[in-house]
Structures are given as C-alpha cells and as structure tokens.
C-alpha cells in the first residue's frame, strides 16, 4: 500500500505503524460525570466499518508524524491523508 503523506508525498505503508480508528483522538473529558463509562467506550469500543474508515497511522520509519488516513476498507483505496495535529487543531471530525 502507498500512503499519500501530506508533507512527503507517496510513501510505502511499510514505513508506517497502524493504530486504528481515528476516534482515539477524541479522549473523553475526565471531569464529566460519566467519565468512567465514557473512557470504557473510548478504550474498548471501536467501529469497524466495511467501507470508508478514518484511521491513525504513525510514520515511524519516517518523519514521526501521526496521520489521519481515510481508507475504504473494502478496496483499500486511500481517499486522503492529513496530519493528525492539523485535524485536531482544526476541529475537523
């Protein structure tokens, strides 16, 4: 697989480490009343869609940036890749 790194262009997937569902970026507020339940969901429950999936990849053997990669899990087509920090700071879902 080839991942279109937003800074470095097409990079081989072997340079990356896969983490999973990009919802991991949305760590619950520890102050909320139902924090334990929210964290249980956050830690243990992931969507595993057949189709478009936003997921986290770490460019470990590269520039060490975390990317949010949008991938179709049924075809492995990569629909986009962004820096995770941009996504988080931009408030994009």
């Amino acid at each position: 697989m080839l991942i279109p790194h937003p800074l470095l262009g097409l990079r081989d997937a072997q340079e990356f480490t896969y983490l999973g569902d990009a919802s991991l970026m949305h760590r619950p507020d520890p102050a909320r009343e139902d924090a334990v339940a929210a964290f249980a969901d956050y830690v243990f429950l992931r969507d595993n869609p057949a189709g478009v999936h936003r997921e986290l990849w770490f460019h470990e053997a590269g520039d060490r940036s975390w990317l949010v990669v949008t991938r179709d899990t049924t075809t492995h087509e990569i629909l986009g890749a962004e820096l995770a920090s941009d996504v988080k700071l931009g408030g994009v879902q």
Binding site: R27, P30, A31, F39, V43, R64, W66, L83, S85, K88
Partner: protein, 982 residues
C-alpha cells in the same frame, strides 16, 4: 530418440548431459527437462498423488500437473519442480517423486486398486472412528502414502535477495500481446518493465507456426527483443513470474536469476521484486483445457497445444517409439492445428477425432467427425485408444494422443482483488471481468483475444490506453502482418462413461468424484472444491477447474456462469519461502543493536544476552570461575561493597522540551512531574489508558522547559510512539517537542558505596558531594577534561549510585577511563544478571512485574496515581475491577534458604489444594541473593501486604515442584533506603 531431425529453438551444437532417476541422458541448450526427457523417449515421469498412477508430462508450461520432479541433490534438492519449467543445464540431476521402490514398479500402486474406497470426501467419512486412531494410525499412514516430494531437511546453501522497481507500465507476459504492448510503450518513452516466466520471450509465438510479415514468428520476436533491449527506458525480465497484484499498483515478482545454472556461483539464486507500476498490462496468455474421458491419464496423453509446442519449439514428439502414429482428440479447430504441425514435421498422424458432427478438415489427414475417445490402453505408455462414433467402437494403435478442449484465458492476476471473471458464451471461457485490480488492463489471449493478429493489436491498444491514463501519449506502431487461426469449437466438456475419467490430474479427482459430490449435495463450487480437493494441488487446477465446473453444471442443469467460478489468490505459481525471506536469514533475520561498550565488553570476555534487538553483557567471567553463578555473585557483592559499572545505554531516552513540557509530562505520567525542581529526578510511572501499568523510568528536569525521561529497554520505541500520539493527536495545543535520544547518549551506571569516590576522579569541577548533589539530583557538567556529560544520582541497586551519560561515541572511552581510575577501588563491571539480582534484592519492579496485567496498587505504588490531576489511565485505574484487586507485590524467602524458587510458580496457602480456586498469586522474579546467602523471589500475593511472616507454598505443578516460602517485605536490602542517601 524422438527428436526431430531439424527445427526447434534448440542449439544442436550445445549438447548438455543430465540424469533422471540415475540414468544418464543428453539434451540441447534451449531444452526444458520435460522436452529433453521426451526427446529421449521417456514418457513416464512421476506417480499421481493419491492412486500412484503412472504419469507423463501433460503440458508445456507452468500449468503442468504431472511432471513434478525433485531437482538437484543434497542441500540444494528442490521437490515439486515442474519439469516443464526447468531449463536444462549441463549436469542437471532430477528424480521422480511419490513412489516406494522404482518409478516403474511403485509398491504403492496398490492404492489404485483401493480407489473405490478413496473417492471424494473419503477422509471425512472413513477415518472417523475410533477417534484416537486418527492421530496415531490413519493420518501418518495417509501422509506416507499420498504426497509429493520431500524436503532435503538441510539448510538452503544459496542466497536470495529482495529488490524494488518502479515503472510507468508493467507488461506481464512476453507473447504477441505483451511484446506489442512493451514496444508501443517503449517507443513512447515510458518506463517499461516486461516480465515473462519463460526463459525465452515470445510466448505461444515460439510454440506455433504462425507467420508474421511472411516470415517465421521467431524472427519478429528476435528483432523486437533486440529493440526492447536497446531502449534505456525498457527493462526486459525473462525468467520472472509476476505472481500477485497488491494494493495501489504494487506487484510481486520472482526472478529466477540462477535456477538455470548448476550452482549460482556468485549470483543469488532468486530475487523477490516488489514492482510499483502506475499501470500494468496483463498479457499472461491462455491455458489449454482437456476433455476428460476414460483412462485419460496415461503417459503419452497430453494437451494438443503442448504437443504442438514440443514439436515446434523443441523439435520433439512425445512418443516412446519414434514412428508410432499420433492421434488428436478435440472439440474445435485448435486440435487440427496440432495435426497439421505434426504432419509438417513428418510425424505420422492417425487422424483427428472431433466431437463435432460437422468437423472440418484443414489438410491431408483423416478426420473422425462426431467421434470421441472412450478408452485407452498402456499402463506406463499409451499404445491404443478406443474411438467411438455413433455407438460403434474400435481400437486403434497410437503412441501418443493430443487432447484439446479449448483455451482458458489466464485471468488469475485479474481476479486478485476479488475481480470476478465473467463467462463469454462465444469463447466458451471465463474472461477478466470489469472489477479487477485498478490499473491492470488484460490484453491478448488473457482477455480472450488469442488470435495472433488480434493479440498484437490488442496489446498495442492496451498500452496506448494505459499510458493515456497517466498522461503519456503513445502512438500506434506498425504491426507485422498476421492472421488469426481458425478457432471454432463446440461446448463439449467430457466423455460420459463407466471408467474413471480424470479431471484434476495432480490431486487425482475424476468425473466420478464430481458426480459423488453432486449426489452428496456439495454443489456450490466452493464446496465442490473442498469435498473433492479439486484445484487444490500445487497447480491450483489450471488445467482442470473449468472442466469440473462444466461437469457440475451439466449435473445440476445450470449454466456454467450460474454454477460460478472460484477466484484466484496470489501466488500465480508457487513461490519458495527462501525467496520470500530474501536475504533475511540467520544473523540477518533482524538487525542487532550493540551498546557503545560492546567491543570493550567483548574484549573482557563477557557473555552476551539478547535483550530485544540489543546485545547486552550478561556477566563477565573471570579466570578460575567455572559457573555463571560464581561470576554473578562476585559482581553483586562488588556493587554492594565497593563499586560496579554497568552499561545501561539500552534504556530508552526521550528528550522533552517546550514551555508546556511539565504539563505534558503531568498528563502522560501517573504522578506529578510539573512540580519537579530543576536539577532533580523523579521516578515516573506510566499507565495505559485502560488503567494498567505500562512502563516506568526516571524523569530528570534539566531546565524549566527541558526534561529527559527514560523508559525500559523493551518499551523504548513504544513509549515514544505513545507520547507522540498524545502530543500530536490528543493535545497538539501544548507547546512541547519530543525526540528519542536513546542512540545519542551512552549511559553507564556507577553503583556502590565507592561510586562517588570514583566519579569525583573524573568530574571536572562540579561539586558532587552529598550536600551539593543529593539523592535524585541531576545536572549537566563536564568530565575527563571538558567532555560534556549528564550526571543523575539514581539507583536501581539500592546502593549509593549514579548514572553518567556522555555522547555515544565516548561510551567506550568512558568505560575504559572509569575502569582505570577505579582500579584501586576494585571497580567491577557487571552485567544484566547481576543487575537483575541487585534489583530483586531491592524489590524494584522490572519487566516481569510490569507485564501489562498489573496495576499501580499491586506494585504498592497506588498512591503515585495522582488524584490532583488527570493523566493517561487515571480514570480507568479507579474502576472496580482494578481498584478491588487485592494482590500485592511481596518478597518470598524459602524456609530452606538453599532451595530455589521458580519464577512462574503459583502461590497457595500452605494446606490448600493446588487448584485454580485456591490460587493466590504467582512468583514474578527469582534469584539467588549472595548478599543474604539465600534464594529469594518477588511475587504478587492476595492481601500480601497484611501477610508478612506467613509461611505459604510456591508450587509448580507442571514439574511437581513445591517450595515452602515465608512472606517478607519486597525490600530484602536496606528497606529504609539509607544507603541511597548517604
């Protein structure tokens, strides 16, 4: 000898000697093992998988199901090699497989008599009872009786390699379509790779007598090859099989670099290529199918197209006796081509048995219209066939029979991304469907356009189309004048009859087996395949799958497309594990990391141990020491009484800088780091978000906005990855930067009561007295006359101790300097064993205690999880299941001090029975403590903190061991910590 007197693409001046089953033969340069054996009148080449039927070569290419041999001898012996793909070389040695006794008199041929009991699904039905017999009797017996070649059981002496290639257009197959595609793209200036599994380019052009521009096709092939070789943007790769299509235009290919040589010499045997292609043309050609009829598996019966290839390319007829007549059985025009080619070569042709009532005739030979072959004779060599027409049968003497049932496009690669082939009623075959891998365009025979003129034009068009998609304008090229051979055929799939008619030769599947599968309701193709093992042999049913589908379709009354087809997965043909491993074997299996003092330790005669990828000194044996314990005990006592040195570079080091560094560390560590004073160090505990302990280490604050944290050796990369995750994905608003500096700094632990004395001798002008530089202090300073260094007063051993870090390249020199300056103090290097004993004596947790299943409370560190702030894992650590865990880290001392405790043993109350219900914990670490002259251990025990002094049992029921132990504090040495602080 059945070699024709002239013709063929063989060099008759280059005679090659070879042996098969110990008999010496000779062939020519350009032969395959199969063609050379046929030229020597050898028809019998192997035994079948299940029934041990005598078998001869059936095809002329990679689809071969029968002629599988073990090539070469000794460690280089390679089983299940197709004789049709083995390029002849001088001195080649091969032997047949799957027989007991000689190939001609195989004792296991008795299996054939048992065939009524060995039908489809027999494994599932027969060997059910008694159950224990399966493992002990049935399976070993079956495995001995059925099978292919055996491995040499020796290490492969040859080298393999991996490589990466990039191109605009990958052309898979070098026949008519592939050559015209490559030439079109090459002339347009595109970066082109042309790969073909054969050693000669040309594909079927070499096997046919088609004429191009009025001359022999091989002339055009040679001219085209020469032009492609001359183009710097084209890479021609013969002997290269593209075996799989992967995501985003990545193709796997194996180049057989030296398989055609006696030994590889200074070459690698094979190279695994990973080809990234913007576009690809699949010009993989087509595979001929046969027509099952009674006893159709005898040596001497082969595909008609293969027979043509042997005659045209290798100047060979597949006869045992040169002048025997040859017959052809066909359902279409293609079989007639073989008859005509054989006649052109001067062979005797009995005639063409054509299933069509209105069969045509294209030359001077007899045609049997509306006829079929209904029987054969000749156990080890065909000598007669029964021809049946309108219910009338008669036997004819023949020496060989060619069978032609039409051609299947090689759709394999086009179905690798679940691309479904679609049925073409006119072609009577599956062709690549519209949903194949992106960027892969089938062309020529692989796309159902098998006529030479069609293939040439289609290959060119495919290249133009593919390149246009990537903005390269390719122009049509002038193609040679060619004609499509007549290719009419009828849908005739098998000859019904009572005797066995083979469909899948390699796995011994007959029409009867398919009928049985139908009766037993194993009708969907996937069930049919698994019930009968059809298409599951090493040839993956290249010559059999479609015929089997047709038989099943007939039985169910459905059409073939309704019956369906299985799709293909990589690899297209077998790929050896050696080449998949590339060069990554033995010491090259994974990189080895050496510490900065590795060579120094080596010179001291240290024993080494693998710690993750690192090689670390385990202990340093001294003259006279005969057992590792002697060395380790000495090293431990030296640290407790004097001073010892240990390379701890392997611990992960992460540099954390920025205005928010303290806040960031507050969030990733369970305990408070933001309040740490500059110039001080704090022990840090890191949790996973699920609340369990993750890692521990030290956190040193060198400046207001600069920390250096350490991780365990094993988790160095993982902790860094996790910290980057939180920095970039969760809190990118914090002003903090991270970098791993594990490799940048060499770090040496200087431990023991004399450690300060020793360090004072190398520190330039800094005051490191107890007052100026107390326990848990850190600072940047210079040593040895100006070398920048970092000094940390931290202790893993429980003694007065420091760790000193210098730029990695000075690690070796620093070790030497410390040894030199501490000689009078008895300075002693120690390894990981002594390090382990020292920390167990002190009760410090390490990997065995931080195994991912333990909590801070269990470690007695519950109060470290700060409730004044949030941190990773803090919330989840308070959930009931974790907070309620009553197991605690304790020390365990055997009542008999000399009795060792085994790590991994489980803990039980003294009189409780040794079962799960009474399990109260387990032993994590154990060692002999020379300081206490006793074996000691650490472990987690239910309510351990309230059971000091209790005598319990550490049991290892697996090995029948039981040790009575006393529960004690985990701190065997200096529980008050006075030694650390002096």
């Amino acid at each position: 000898m059945t070699r024709l007197s002239k013709g063929g693409l063989i060099d008759r001046d280059a005679r090659l000697r070879f042996s098969f089953n110990g008999t010496e033969y000779s062939g020519y340069q350009g032969d395959t093992l199969a063609s050379a054996l046929l030229a020597n009148g050898v028809q019998l080449m192997g035994r079948s998988f299940k029934y041990h039927r005598p078998r001869g070569v059936f095809a002329a290419g990679s689809e071969e199901p029968n002629a599988m041999v073990t090539l070469r001898d000794g460690a280089r012996a390679e089983p299940n090699t197709r004789a049709t793909m083995t390029e002849l070389y001088d001195g080649l040695s091969a032997r047949s497989q799957n027989h007991i006794g000689s190939l001609e008199r195989d004792l296991l041929a008795v299996n054939d008599l048992l065939s009524p009991f060995l039908a489809a699904g027999f494994y599932y039905k027969t060997f059910m009872w008694p159950k224990a017999f399966w493992e002990k009797l049935y399976e070993p017996a079956i495995r001995r009786a059925a099978g292919l070649g055996a491995l040499s059981m020796q290490a492969d002496p040859d080298e393999y390699d991996k490589g990466f290639l990039h191109c605009d257009l990958l052309v898979i197959g070098g026949g008519a379509a592939g050559l015209s595609a490559a030439l079109t793209a090459g002339r347009a200036g595109a970066q082109v790779i042309l790969a073909d599994e054969d050693f000669a380019l040309g594909g079927r052009l070499l096997a046919e007598r088609d004429r191009l521009d009025g001359a022999e096709a091989r002339d055009w092939v040679a001219i085209t090859r020469a032009e492609l070789d001359s183009l710097p943007n084209v890479r021609v790769m013969p002997r290269t099989t593209v075996f799989g299509v992967y995501d985003h235009g990545i193709y796997g290919a194996v180049e057989r670099v030296a398989d055609h040589l006696p030994t590889p010499g200074d070459k690698v045997r094979q190279t695994l290529w990973r080809i990234t292609a913007k576009r690809a043309v699949l010009a993989a050609g087509a595979t001929e199918r046969h027509i099952p009829f009674a006893d159709n598996d005898r040596p001497g019966i082969m595909l008609a197209g293969a027979m043509r290839a042997y005659a045209n390319r290798w100047a060979v007829t597949p006869l045992k006796h040169a002048n025997d007549p040859i017959a052809i059985f066909t359902n279409g025009d293609d079989g007639h081509r073989t008859a005509m080619d054989l006649i052109a070569h001067g062979a005797r042709v009995l005639g063409v048995i054509d299933s069509r009532a209105d069969a045509p005739c294209f030359g001077q030979y007899e045609v049997f219209p509306g006829a079929t072959v209904t029987g054969t004779k000749g156990r080890q060599s065909l000598y007669a066939i029964e021809i049946t027409r309108n219910g009338q049968s008669e036997w004819h003497s023949v020496g060989a029979l060619g069978v032609s049932g039409g051609w299947n496009p090689n759709v394999h690669l086009a179905s690798h991304h679940r691309g479904r082939p679609v049925w073409d009623d006119a072609l009577l075959a599956f062709v690549p469907g519209p949903n194949g891998p992106q960027g892969l365009i089938p062309a020529g025979a692989a796309a159902g356009k098998g006529g030479v003129a069609d293939a040439l034009a289609d290959g060119m068009q495919a290249a133009i189309t593919a390149l246009l998609e990537i903005d390269i304008a390719a122009k049509p090229i002038p193609l040679p004048q060619a004609e499509n051979a007549p290719a009419a055929q009828e849908a005739f799939w098998h000859v019904p009859g009572k005797r066995r008619a083979w469909v899948d030769f390699q796995n011994d599947v007959t029409v009867k087996d398919i009928v049985l599968a139908h009766k037993e309701n194993m009708r969907p193709v996937e069930h049919l395949k698994r019930w009968t093992t059809l298409g599951m042999a090493t040839d993956q049913g290249k010559t059999s799958n479609i015929s089997a589908l047709a038989v099943m379709a007939e039985l169910t009354g459905k059409t073939i497309p309704q019956t369906g087809t299985t799709i293909f997965r990589p690899p297209y043909t077998g790929v050896s594990l050696s080449v998949l491993g590339g060069g990554d074997t033995g010491p090259h299996f994974r990189p080895k990391r050496l510490t900065p003092t590795h060579h120094w330790a080596e010179a001291q005669g240290a024993e080494f141990v693998e710690v993750g990828p690192w090689m670390r000194a385990q202990y340093f044996p001294q003259p006279g020491e005969t057992h590792w314990r002697e060395s380790v005990d000495r090293e431990v006592l030296a640290v407790r009484s004097g001073v010892g040195l240990c390379d701890v570079t392997t611990l992960g080091k992460i540099d954390v800088q920025g205005a928010d560094a303290g806040e960031f560390l507050n969030r990733v560590y369970a305990n408070m780091m933001g309040t740490l004073k500059v110039g001080m160090v704090r022990y840090g505990l890191m949790l996973r978000e699920d609340g369990h302990c993750y890692d521990d280490g030290t956190c040193a604050r060198l400046a207001e906005d600069h920390y250096v944290v350490t991780t365990t050796t094993a988790n160095a990369g993982l902790v860094y990855r996790q910290m980057e995750f939180f920095r970039q994905c969760v809190w990118p608003d914090l002003d903090v930067q991270l970098i791993s500096t594990t490799d940048a700094w060499a770090q040496i632990a200087v431990a023991g009561p004399q450690s300060r004395t020793l360090l004072q001798r190398i520190v330039d002008d800094a005051d490191i007295s107890n007052e100026a530089f107390p326990f848990m202090a850190c600072r940047e300073l210079t040593i040895c006359g100006g070398l920048r260094a970092r000094l940390f007063r931290i202790s893993f051993s429980g003694e007065l101790a420091y760790e000193v870090a210098v730029p990695a390249r000075y690690g070796h020199a620093l070790m030497q300097r410390l040894m030199e300056k501490g000689a009078d103090l008895g300075v002693t290097p120690y390894g990981t064993e002594a390090l382990g004993v020292l920390r167990i004596e002190k009760g410090h947790a390490a990997g065995a205690e931080l195994n991912g299943q333990t909590t801070a409370q269990m470690l007695g560190l519950g109060r470290m999880v700060s409730v004044k702030k949030d941190s990773v894992g803090a919330i989840m650590s308070r959930r009931e299941g974790l907070a309620g865990d009553k197991r605690r880290l304790v020390g365990l001392k055997p009542v008999n001090a000399q009795k060792p405790v085994a790590a991994g043993a489980h803990l039980f109350a003294k009189d409780a029975s040794r079962d799960m219900a009474n399990d109260q914990g387990w032993v994590t670490s154990a060692c002999y403590s020379p300081h206490l002259d006793s074996h000691i251990a650490l472990g987690f025990l239910e309510d351990g903190d309230t059971r000091m002094g209790e005598v319990i049992t550490a049991a290892n029921p697996l090995e029948g061991q039981e040790v009575t132990v006393e529960v004690v504090s985990a701190h065997f040495v200096d529980p008050e910590g006075g030694r650390l602080r002096d």
